[in-house]
């Protein structure tokens, strides 16, 4: 035992992976692969080895290396990518997903030490962005990217730069508005205190001065900070919609006008303190509602996943062509790890295409010459040549984005509770206000007006407007802690309304990383050794899985070895001849009924059984099944119905499972459910689910690494949290209940205030106390209740 400990694998100095071979050693430091070693050499040549002293193993594994940035010499593409350019300076922002620790930060800000043409480089850690200013006469963009690549920080270059767009700050200056409102609120409070405590007869001149000063402070609050409410209310009125901004704007306007009249004409204190406090708290509510995830994008489509350019062969010359200029009939070269950008016919080479981004299936598919390969696949292995048969946007997969589901706004029948209520609220409020005006008017016109304005002031739905943002912000942070990222706060309400859940199979309910390989049949030690020796020569993923399964065995010399693409391996080792591969290879027949991906073994004309590859279902699939009475569950899979029987334990009947679904038919299925009045949640992971995710009322993309690609959706879920889905759904319902409760609380406050207001004798002091007290009650109630609900659902 101790002996095995002592030959414990060393971990790579750069990336921390186990070193399989002792071949890569520099300066007594071990590396797992050539890529990691070369990064270290580049860094040590530039004297930047401090990189390794801030953190252990800060690098990313570099086993797979291929650098091709030729396309960065095309002026069209360069102009799309850069932020700014003049005679000799270019500024560009890169998105680098690998930025994760202080070493990354340190190294990337030392770029100017490696190359003096780089003037300046700055990292934004949360956004994982690097801003570089460099001299493009001395260093081309391609060289810069290659330099980054050489030190292990490959930027993601995409023409549809969603991350960059998403991170441009919003132009509404909300923070500045809050600052102004807060500043004025504080000063007005200070100047109002003397009035509350009583000003003696000798100091009456101060009273007028304080009142006027308050009016001056109220001006920027109404006309700068609170102006957005007037704009919004007016725009909604124009489309005949009474949203919550209408009573708010009305409240602000009435508060201001009444204060001006009170102070200037009546020499009364006015309501400026209430006014400033109201706007300040409302803006705070807006601010907490705004949650940004810098590292996640919810808007990605195929363009952010497809390459920027592809190499086209014309007259035997390879030239990078931007994807938008790719035409049918052109001949393209796709190398290892490159993505096939359009539907194309395979002309040359052995295609082994990994469709994991499209379907979630992680085992690459063999394609034969002349076969059409759909766009979105990633070639693994040697370079292949293809002839484009459809343009990029018209391909089998990408034409999905031409569907109207992508062009129209998300359906508006999902009105939030707030929107529904505010309509009635406004009507009732106006009725009470005019009612009290008419009641007093015959006796005392002044008192009638006072009552009218007082009603509008007191009933201004400040607490109501705050209850939703604060509850939702608390809910969002709880989901966030559980690795479930929602696009915005409305998603929570949509989630509470869901009654139907549709799931994709591969990659969604199955775990894409851990495929299970099982041996059906008996193998002797020598047979295992034979199979191992044959399979180690193949780079096919199934061969590799078999080798992993058999473990390290001594390798036997091969006398003959041939790999037949799409079929398997023919080998001759010692006196034995081996056939390892598909049923077609071994029995010369293809059995459609055979329901698993399997590798069959024939040694010396004797059939010994097969290795079956099975998917592991994600942990917690049983919990999901238990949702069945409350939620309708459906499965939509692009695959054959191989696993139908296996899946019956999760889905009660076969009617709930639909196989052989194309991306378009997934979308149509969701729509047909919606037409029946169901509120549908779609859970998917690949580009082929994009249409369904978009069409559904709530599209959830599931991913094992949130920095990786995930299709556009309303929410992104980390695969590890999949088992918590039932809790998430219940918690969303709890959240909506909390909003209802806080609505009741704020109504109670309104009623108390109204009972003063209708008499027309509302003192500024009552209003100034009532407004902050109700606000604080709502904020603390929603926050505490949300945390309590999360505890109950075991989400905290």
């Amino acid at each position: 035992m101790i002996k095995t400990e002592s030959i414990e694998k060393t971990s790579c100095y750069h990336c921390g992976n186990d070193c399989e071979t002792p071949a890569y050693v520099v300066e007594e430091k071990h590396f797992c692969c050539l890529g990691c070693k070369s990064v270290f050499e580049v860094l040590s040549a530039s004297n930047l080895c401090n990189y390794y002293s801030y953190n252990d193993h800060p690098g990313v594994n570099r086993a797979k290396v291929d650098k091709r940035f030729d396309y960065l010499n095309e002026p069209d593409i360069i102009n799309e990518l850069i932020d700014f350019k003049d005679d000799d300076t270019t500024i560009i922002t890169f998105y680098i997903p690998h930025i994760h620790c202080s070493s990354c930060l340190w190294l990337l800000e030392q770029l100017n030490k490696m190359n003096h043409a780089i003037h300046y480089s700055r990292v934004d850690f949360l956004k994982k962005q690097l801003n570089v200013r460099f001299n493009h006469n001395q260093l081309t963009l391609q060289q810069l990217v290659e330099q980054l690549y050489d030190i292990g920080y490959e930027p993601v270059i995409s023409l549809q730069d969603i991350i960059k767009k998403q991170n441009t700050p919003e132009k509404d200056n909300l923070v500045l508005k809050i600052a102004v409102a807060g500043f004025c609120f504080g000063n007005v409070m200070l100047l109002s205190f003397p009035e509350y405590f009583g000003i003696s007869v000798y100091e009456q001149t101060f009273k007028h001065f304080f009142g006027l000063a308050n009016i001056v402070f109220a001006l920027p609050v109404v006309f700068y900070s609170g102006w957005g409410y007037f704009v919004s209310a007016w725009q909604n009125l124009k489309v005949k919609n009474l949203n919550i901004d209408f009573p708010l704007a009305l409240g602000i306007a009435v508060l201001f006008l009444r204060s001006v009249v009170d102070v200037i004409i009546n020499n009364d204190p006015g309501f400026t303190d209430t006014l400033c406090g109201l706007v300040f708290f409302l803006l705070i509510g807006k601010f907490v509602q705004r949650k940004t995830y810098y590292h996640i994008s919810f808007e990605r489509d195929y363009r952010s996943f497809f390459p920027v350019a592809v190499n086209v062969i014309t007259d035997n010359i390879e030239k990078p062509v931007p994807l938008s200029q790719l035409q049918t009939g052109q001949r393209v070269v796709i190398r290892n790890n490159e993505i096939i950008p359009a539907d194309a016919i395979l002309l040359k080479g052995r295609a082994m295409v990994d469709f994991s981004f499209v379907t979630g299936e992680s085992i690459p598919v063999n394609k034969t010459l002349g076969e059409i390969i759909y766009a979105g696949g990633r070639q693994t292995g040697e370079a292949i040549e293809l002839e484009v048969v459809k343009s990029v946007s018209q391909s089998y997969l990408t034409q999905l984005w031409n569907n109207e589901a992508f062009t129209r706004q998300k359906n508006n029948n999902n009105q939030t509770f707030n929107e529904k209520v505010s309509k009635y609220f406004t009507v009732v409020l106006l009725a009470i206000a005019f009612g009290s005006l008419l009641f007093w008017l015959p006796f005392n016109a002044g008192r009638g007006l006072a009552a009218f304005t007082a009603v509008l002031i007191v009933a201004c739905p400040c607490a109501l407007a705050l209850s939703t943002p604060f509850t939702m912000a608390a809910a969002l942070s709880i989901f966030d802690r559980n690795l479930f990222y929602l696009k915005n706060t409305q998603v929570v309400e949509h989630m509470a309304a869901i009654d139907t859940i549709v799931m994709d199979k591969t990659g969604t309910i199955t775990n894409s990383d851990t495929n299970n390989i099982k041996l059906n049949g008996e193998l002797t030690d020598i047979q295992q050794q034979l199979i191992y020796s044959a399979c180690t020569n193949s780079i096919h993923p199934l061969s590799r899985m078999i080798c992993d399964y058999l473990g390290q065995l001594p390798k036997l010399p091969l006398r003959k070895y041939e790999e037949i693409p799409g079929k398997g391996i023919v080998a001759w080792i010692g006196d034995h001849d081996l056939l390892i591969g598909s049923k077609g290879l071994i029995f010369n027949e293809t059995d459609e009924k055979f329901t698993k991906t399997a590798v069959h073994i024939l040694i010396d004309e004797r059939y010994l059984g097969y290795f079956a590859i099975e998917h592991n279902y994600r942990a917690g699939m049983e919990n999901i099944t238990n949702l069945n009475p409350d939620y309708q569950l459906y499965l939509l899979s692009g695959d054959q119905d191989h696993e139908k029987n296996d899946l019956l334990r999760f889905f009660r009947s076969a009617d709930q499972m639909h196989f052989n679904q194309s991306p378009q038919s997934k979308l149509d299925f969701i729509r047909s459910l919606q037409d029946k009045g169901n509120k549908v949640m779609m859970i998917g992971d690949g580009l082929n689910d994009s249409g369904a995710l978009k069409q559904s009322d709530l599209g959830v993309a599931i991913t094992d690494n949130v920095n990786n690609f995930s299709p556009g959706s309303d929410a992104i879920m980390d695969g590890r949290s999949f088992k918590k889905l039932p809790s998430f759904l219940r918690f969303a319902k709890d959240t909506v209940k909390i909003i209802h409760c806080s609505f009741a609380i704020s109504l109670t406050y309104n009623l108390i205030g109204l009972s003063y207001a209708v008499t027309g004798k509302l003192s500024p002091l009552v209003a100034a106390i009532l407004m902050p007290v109700s606000t604080v009650t709502i904020i603390s109630f929603t926050t505490l209740a949300a945390h309590f609900a999360a505890k109950k659902r075991h989400l905290l």
Binding site: E27, N47, V123, D124, F125, V175, L176, N187, A213
Partner: protein, 55 residues
């Protein structure tokens, strides 16, 4: 008691200066990235002349 006018004027002026400072900070992008500088400060400055002893 007229000194009150002067004092209130001073306090408002002072507060306005702070508000202006905040506006300046916000508009010049100082609050855009609140995370990275907190990490940057922990990284040591290197001596330019002396090569780091590699170990």
């Amino acid at each position: 008691m007229s000194i009150i006018y002067f004092l209130i004027g001073c306090s408002i002026l002072l507060a306005l200066i702070f508000l202006g400072a905040f506006f300046w900070a916000q508009c010049s992008g100082q609050n855009d990235d609140l995370c990275t500088p907190s990490m940057r400060i922990l990284l040591d400055d290197e001596d330019e002349d002396e090569p780091e002893p590699r170990k």
